[in-house]
């Protein structure tokens, strides 16, 4: 039998093109509204995509101390977006990004366990450690956590999550990607076989962004 591919869609308010919000067909006022995300997820589900993926950032994009006015907003809170679409979809996986650097493990576990129940077992957590150093200034820190510490902390989160879930015989998918790529993925690689399935991500300009997932133990992000 021919090997089959996984397909995901990586959404962004308006789209990943930097000026997508200016397109004449784009109703830019919709990008904070429920229907925009519901419609997008339903289209992806119509196309039988495996997952609907929402990235995250924890600081506004700035230039010379001011927010950059010519680009659209960051994603709204990813857990909120995927929760919103859970009730209008049946099958598509719902993957939200949440940072291990600026959250507590108990809170993350509660959020994804809830999402997993409400969605009938479709939740996925994209584990990131938050690359942008400016985020630290929004969390009572004068500087970002040193990189190796960030990844150690991330590793312990995933370990905690795994043991918590296995006690209940229940394991939502843990996806690692974005800034968390190599270290977390490789550290978790052997253990994560069978749970961490994401890999290779390609972003194609001019088309709906498509995330192609292959079973792998290492994660690569390629933008081209």
């Amino acid at each position: 039998m021919t090997r089959q591919l996984h397909l995901g869609v990586f959404i962004y308010p308006g789209g990943h093109h930097i000026a997508a919000w200016r397109h004449p067909d784009m109703k830019a006022e919709r990008i904070t509204e429920l229907d925009y995300y519901c419609q997008s997820a339903q289209i992806a589900e119509r196309g039988k995509f495996d997952l609907f993926f929402v990235g995250d950032a924890l600081n506004a994009r700035e230039r010379e101390g001011k927010v950059v006015g010519e680009i659209a907003i960051n994603n709204l809170d990813p857990v909120s977006i995927v929760s919103a679409v859970a009730s209008v979809t049946d099958r598509i996986g719902l993957v939200a990004t949440l940072s291990t650097t600026y959250n507590e493990p108990a809170m993350i576990a509660a959020k994804f366990a809830t999402l997993d129940h409400l969605s009938g077992g479709r939740a996925g957590w994209n584990v990131v450690t938050t690359l942008d150093e400016k985020a630290a200034l929004n969390f009572s820190r004068s500087e970002a956590m040193e990189k190796s510490l960030r990844y150690q902390r991330a590793q312990s989160f995933v370990d905690d999550g795994e043991s918590g879930r296995s006690r209940r015989g229940y394991r939502p998918c843990v996806a690692t990607g974005g800034a968390a790529r190599k270290r977390a993925a490789m550290a978790g690689g052997e253990r994560a076989t069978g749970t961490a399935r994401l890999v290779e991500v390609a972003v194609f300009p001019g088309k709906p962004t498509v995330l192609i997932a292959l079973i792998a133990t290492e994660i690569r992000w390629s933008f081209f």
């Binding site: 004449p24 429920l34 507590e104």
Partner: protein, 286 residues
């Protein structure tokens, strides 16, 4: 949610406490946003243990929730429920310290919600101006518990500030609510307790009394009508869900409507409007 909306209830509040007293709780942010599709008018409140949460995360979650629910979200700011071991960072705090931290946390959340003025989003396609950088403000908060630069990376919630609900009726909790709550839920509905709480709260926060739903619908509704002068409304606690909610929607609410204590239907669109709370201007607006 659909039953409650049929009955014209202002809001459903998911107020489970974090801690050992309950087997499990659904986390409020997945929950209230997942329910957004189930109604168009009813408010949806979710509890956050603010003792263990970062104000940036709270502000960001509820900004999203408020947009996705079209202005129907509410933050129930819970404090004091600690299950040892759940939160690695949490040092033991005195009650006074905990209250100071909670007050500062809520102040920072409001600053972050206000960091984008209402007029900040321009959507000016010809000139390529999505937002007006002069109307988006770093908050530069520096206090004893939090240092937060801001701005939030989300537009201002539709309600400006989603209503903040509290229910800690200890002296410290009431002092905090007087300063920071939009709505306070009293733990009981006896006249003496309500009068004492109203005095401690001041006139500003809306005061709801808690009444378990019990007895015949007519008698229950008559009791609410009798208590009505002492508070601004009620937090009804159905013993059995959703059966009791049907009775509340179909028998108790009509009784209150006949007596002019409830409007015939929703008069506003947002939860602030249901509570008759004015929409605040951003504290950073000129």
């Amino acid at each position: 949610v659909r039953t409650a909306e049929r009955g014209g209830i202002d809001a459903i509040l998911f107020d489970g406490q974090w801690g050992p007293s309950t087997a499990f709780n659904l986390d409020p942010i997945p929950l209230i946003v997942a329910l957004a599709e189930c109604g168009t008018r009813i408010g949806l409140g979710g509890a956050i243990e603010i003792d263990h949460a970062e104000p940036f995360n709270i502000a960001r979650s509820f900004a999203a929730a408020d947009h996705l629910t079209a202005g129907r979200s509410s933050l129930i700011a819970a404090s004091g429920a600690v299950r040892p071991g759940d939160f690695g960072h949490a040092p033991v705090r005195t009650i006074a310290e905990r209250q100071s931290r909670a007050a500062e946390c809520i102040a920072v959340v409001r600053k972050l919600w206000d960091s984008w003025e209402d007029e900040a989003i321009l959507l000016d396609k010809p000139n390529g101006r999505f937002s007006d950088p002069d109307r988006v403000h770093p908050i530069h908060h520096a206090g004893p518990f939090f240092t937060v630069r801001g701005p939030l990376n989300a537009p201002r919630p539709l309600q400006g500030n989603p209503p903040i609900i509290q229910r800690d009726a200890s002296p410290e909790g009431l002092a905090l609510a007087r300063q920071t709550a939009d709505v306070f839920i009293a733990p009981a509905a006896d006249p003496a307790t309500l009068a004492a709480i109203r005095q401690a709260l001041g006139e500003r926060p809306r005061l709801l009394a808690t009444t378990p739903f019990a007895g015949a619908p007519d008698a229950f509704a008559a009791r609410l009508a009798e208590l009505a002068p002492l508070c601004d409304g009620f937090d009804l606690v159905p013993g059995m869900l959703p059966v009791d909610l049907d009775t509340i929607a179909d028998e108790v609410v009509p009784f209150l409507r006949e007596r002019g204590l409830r409007p015939a239907g929703y008069e506003g669109k947002t939860l602030r409007e249901h509570f008759h709370l004015a929409r605040p201007r951003s504290q950073f607006a000129a």
